[in-house]
């Protein structure tokens, strides 16, 4: 354990029947940083993301987390190591209540929960913590509402609360502000800023404003390859990035 980088990849490649979606990506995510992956549509951001969380198996390459090779692990195992992801579409459990959504994540602390013969009342010990997490994201008034009935922005907030419930060491956020109104975007950015203390965050994002305000390091992907890497000032001044990302020299 230790070292400067929490997550590292080498030669990460994913081919879909001959189409190379991600090619030779070397990524180093520094401990305690907020690292953003940006790029135009179809650049392979989400594929890259799914590779890192093992929802897709890479064709070639190595993924190391805390110095340990996790390339062959299953997604649930990666999650158990403390690498927890969010999804582009708001991923909640629609028929569970808001409180239950967070509680089912907290329940991970007791292990597998294969005990089908015990009463669920023993999960009530997680409810105080669940309420605290909900209060953190401004959802405390909704705890008994089925999550499916929440408006979009609040679903994303719930998803973040659920992710935080696992106390992840590395949080991977897939376009956390996609499809949100300005107000909601500000709220989520604010939230990420508050929760970044003590953890490392890797996010895929489309919204440059969000990236600018949040990230320490930015990796630009185009056509599945790393085009540039650096802080926001360096990236925004890079003419190649301007061409690729905005499709124009002027930017």
């Amino acid at each position: 354990m230790g070292g400067d980088f929490v997550l590292e990849t080498e030669g990460l490649t994913k081919e879909f029947r001959g189409f190379v979606a991600v090619k030779d990506v070397a990524l180093s995510v520094r401990r305690g940083s907020v690292h953003a992956i940006i790029g135009p549509n179809g650049a392979g951001k989400t594929t890259c993301f799914n590779l890192l969380t093992k929802f897709l198996q890479p064709t070639r390459g190595v993924i190391r987390y805390e110095g340990r090779d996790i390339t062959a692990l299953k997604p649930a195992e990666v999650a158990r190591l403390g690498v927890v992801r969010s999804f582009q579409i708001s991923a909640v459990f629609p028929h569970l209540t808001v409180l239950e959504n967070v509680r089912v994540a907290l329940q991970r602390a007791r292990g597998g929960s294969y005990d089908f013969w015990r009463s669920e009342s023993l999960l009530s010990r997680y409810e105080d913590r669940a309420r605290a997490l909900l209060a953190d994201v401004g959802l405390d008034r909704y705890e008994n509402v089925p999550a499916g009935l929440l408006p979009y922005g609040r679903k994303r907030a719930l998803e973040i609360a659920t992710t935080l419930a696992l106390e992840p060491k590395l949080m991977l956020l897939d376009e956390p502000t996609a499809g949100m109104t300005h107000e909601d975007v500000d709220r989520v950015v604010d939230l990420i800023r508050r929760v970044r203390a003590g953890r490392t965050i890797l996010l895929v994002e489309h919204n440059l404003k969000v990236v600018a305000g949040l990230s320490d390091t930015i990796t630009v992907l185009t056509r599945g390859q790393v085009l540039a890497e650096g802080d926001y000032a360096a990236i925004s001044a890079n003419p190649e990035v301007k061409t690729a990302y905005l499709g124009t020299e002027e930017g």
């Binding site: 195992e77 927890v84 929960s113 089908f116 009463s119």
Partner: protein, 307 residues
């Protein structure tokens, strides 16, 4: 248990207690066996989101093995039913292991295909008696003591088996395991991303469902003293789907109401012969078009309380 469900349970128990005095005990026993079968099916469809189209295999093999154990091996009825349940459990573990690797329609097709293999095995295997089935299964004596030949005595045993199975299923759904299972049903990738190995939960749910379906089948064999190919053929799988849909998927009492409706229809409409299937089909279509949530599902929507 929420108050609405507690009240409904009290009504159900009262109905079961009063029924043999008002109705034919054999008819009510049939309803209870099918209700337990449908409830077991509902554990998968309603709480794990898995549509099995092969539950006849577990119901039928439970029926055959219970009948065989009681008749050939001379087991007491409770041991015969346990034998049927264990057979279905083992079968469920093997089939579930294969089927849960696929999703949606593929899962349904694999469960159907495996169940059809069991059906053709039963057509050929000598111990099932082929077209004749296993007939004249002795009801025996409970624990070797209480003679179950009179319908009225057997009724209370069947009622106890049903209630035990029903409450066991309730416990499964409302356990820490049940909570994870519902999360997987709602959003499997998200549940995986929280660190739950979703296949393990689906398999366990599948095995539990098969076990209880087997117990329902075994109990049926003791009640009717017969196990036949009907128990293991695909329309039996369809019946579980029909009862659950009609009563209300993912509701506690829906499958019980669905079983009551279907068994009653089959008894009342028996005079129309082949038309029973057509009438059932029409009811099914009407149900899907007019009240999708099923009888109990619509009811709980109306009173805004879980049932």
């Amino acid at each position: 248990m929420p108050r609405s469900q507690a009240i409904a349970l009290a009504l159900l128990v009262a109905f079961i207690a009063a029924a043999p005095f008002l109705l034919f005990p054999v008819y009510v026993m049939k309803v209870l066996c099918f209700a337990l079968y449908a409830c077991a099916f509902n554990l998968l469809l309603g709480y794990a989101g898995l549509l099995s189209f092969g539950h006849a295999a577990y119901f039928g093999m439970g029926s055959y093995l219970s009948a065989h154990a009681a008749k050939v091996w001379g087991f007491t009825p409770e041991l015969a039913i346990v034998t049927g349940g264990l057979t279905a459990t083992a079968l469920g573990a093997a089939f579930g292991y294969l089927a849960i690797r696929r999703q949606g329609i593929y899962f349904a097709m694999i469960t159907l295909a495996l169940a059809q293999m069991v059906y053709f095995f039963c057509v050929q295997a000598p111990f099932t008696g082929g077209e004749d089935g296993i007939q004249a299964v002795p009801r025996g004596a409970l624990l070797g003591v209480l003679d179950l030949t009179p319908d009225f005595t057997l009724y209370w045993v069947v009622a106890a088996v049903f209630l035990a199975g029903f409450l066991f299923l309730y416990r499964i759904v409302h356990s820490p395991f049940g909570q994870v299972l519902k999360a997987i049903r709602d959003n499997e990738p998200r549940a995986i991303s929280l660190g739950y190995r979703s296949d393990d939960y689906k398999l366990l749910a599948f095995v539990l469902s098969a076990a209880i379906a087997g117990i329902a089948g075994g109990t049926k064999a003791i009640v009717f003293q017969i196990a036949t190919l009907t128990d293991v053929n695909w329309p039996m799988s369809g019946e579980a789907v029909l009862m659950t849909l009609l009563g209300g998927i993912g509701t506690l009492f829906g499958p019980v109401v669905g079983a009551l409706i279907i068994v009653t229809l089959q008894a009342e409409l028996a005079q129309f012969g082949a038309w029973v299937t057509v009438i059932q089909g029409v009811i099914f279509v009407a149900c899907v078009l007019a009240f999708r949530r099923g009888v109990v599902g619509e009811l709980q929507q109306a009173i805004r309380r879980p049932l």
